[in-house]
């Protein structure tokens, strides 16, 4: 590890309430869940943060349960837990599918849904799923709990509505009507960060979300409206291309991403065409 261990401090709350007080009262602390992102930064000496609040032992945040018609997924649910959960398989199969394509088994055993959201990478694999499912993010601080629509959670590249004293405690997903679809395109099926990732729902009003093609995960709202109003797929694909702002980076090029995003839209539409 390139970061000096002696420079690090790990605060260890025993309860959620204690964790929230630490986030309110302690200087410069960052929540640590499965450590699959933050420890990469520490290993390479690229992370400036030195003080962490270790959330791993807060078992209540792992719960996946139905509350009435709403699927509630604790922020500390690991990808493995999402893959194994009957409720997730039944209610949100595209989330189980996304979880299966995150890293390898070792990462799936530690990485968490809350971590994927807070990490706020535009390439996060579960994020298009949450966007397409119209999920709600449950945020809690020492003084209040609030619910924010996932669609409005990110305010810019790696920026979100979460305040430093807040934790994501859960994600809530109401009934999702229609066929769910997910596809990640990367260099390799496992262990590769996506070049383009898409989740979509074919219901009365289609919902389409894409990652790695803009500063944040995005919903293609104009494309959705056009398809909902009966537009052909060629016209819809042209609209989709105008709604994304892909970049050239280490993993891919803007041109390739544009092409793949359009192809994924077409594939979604033909895969989910009413039989």
């Amino acid at each position: 590890m390139r970061t000096a261990i002696s420079s690090l401090e790990l605060l260890e709350p025993r309860t959620l309430a204690e964790a929230l007080r630490m986030l309110r009262d302690e200087e410069g602390v960052v929540p640590l869940a499965g450590a699959t992102d933050l420890y990469v930064g520490l290993n390479f000496g690229t992370l400036e943060t030195r003080r962490f609040v270790n959330l791993w032992s807060l078992a209540p945040l792992r719960r996946i349960a139905m509350r009435g018609d709403t699927l509630s997924i604790g922020a500390l649910a690991t990808y493995t837990a999402l893959i194994r959960s009957r409720q997730v398989q039944r209610r949100l199969p595209m989330l189980a599918q996304a979880a299966r394509e995150v890293g390898g088994m070792q990462i799936q055993n530690r990485g968490t849904l809350g971590g994927n959201i807070v990490n706020a990478s535009p390439a996060g694999d579960t994020l298009p799923v949450l966007a397409a499912a119209d999920a709600t993010v449950v945020l809690r601080s020492a003084s209040e709990e609030r619910r924010v629509p996932f669609a409005g959670f990110y305010t810019g590249y790696r920026e979100s509505l979460r305040r430093p004293d807040e934790l994501i405690t859960a994600v809530e997903v109401g009934p999702v009507e229609g066929a769910q679809w997910f596809r990640k395109v990367g260099t390799r099926a496992a262990q590769a960060i996506s070049k383009v990732v898409m989740a979509a729902v074919r219901g009365a009003a289609p919902r389409i979300a894409l990652g790695s093609v803009a500063p944040t995960v995005i919903r293609l709202s104009r494309t959705e409206r056009a398809l909902g109003d009966g537009a052909g797929i060629d016209d819809a694909a042209a609209i989709a291309e105008s709604e994304i702002q892909p970049l050239d980076d280490l993993r891919s090029t803007a041109g390739y991403r544009r092409r793949v995003a359009s192809n994924l839209l077409r594939r979604f539409w033909s895969d989910t065409a009413p039989g």
């Binding site: 990469v40 890293g103 088994m105």
Partner: protein, 140 residues
């Protein structure tokens, strides 16, 4: 802090933020667990925490307090998987082998090829081309 290491209780005086990998290799002298990439990609540092495969380069000690850790040394000198890797020549340089075996242990006896491929997606080998590794894991 106390952990169970390869079946025996062990008290360790380590920093809570120390990596499990470093504590295993440096404090406990268990150098069978290797460091490859240091970013959770290669799987060379795979060990079991309460039976689940993890990359020990990404696990702070505070998160294994009270847990049961199994390393390649914990499988003993004559484990059927280790023998199968030798018989099938499932290793060349050998750096990835302990991690491969620790992941394979979680699959139970005679797993299907698709299951092996999926489970080993997080263990990279740059020498063998995987075929001998898959044969070894199917064998015991």
């Amino acid at each position: 802090m106390r952990i169970t290491l390869n079946g025996a209780p062990r008290d360790l005086a380590c920093h809570p933020a120390a990596r499990l990998l470093d504590v295993l290799r440096q404090e406990c002298g268990l150098t069978g667990t290797k460091e490859g990439c240091g970013e959770g990609e290669c799987g060379a540092c795979t060990v079991l925490v309460d039976g689940a495969a993890v990359c020990s380069c990404l696990v702070p000690m505070a998160q294994v307090r009270g847990a049961s850790i199994t390393t390649i040394e914990g499988l003993g000198d004559d484990h059927p998987l280790a023998r199968a890797f030798m018989d099938e020549v499932g290793a060349q340089c050998g750096i990835c082998t302990p991690g491969m075996i620790m992941t394979a242990v979680t699959l139970g006896p005679r797993p299907s090829l698709p299951r092996i491929r999926t489970a080993l997606a997080g263990n990279l080998c740059r020498c063998t081309g995987y075929e001998a590794i898959y044969r070894a894991i199917r064998k015991p």
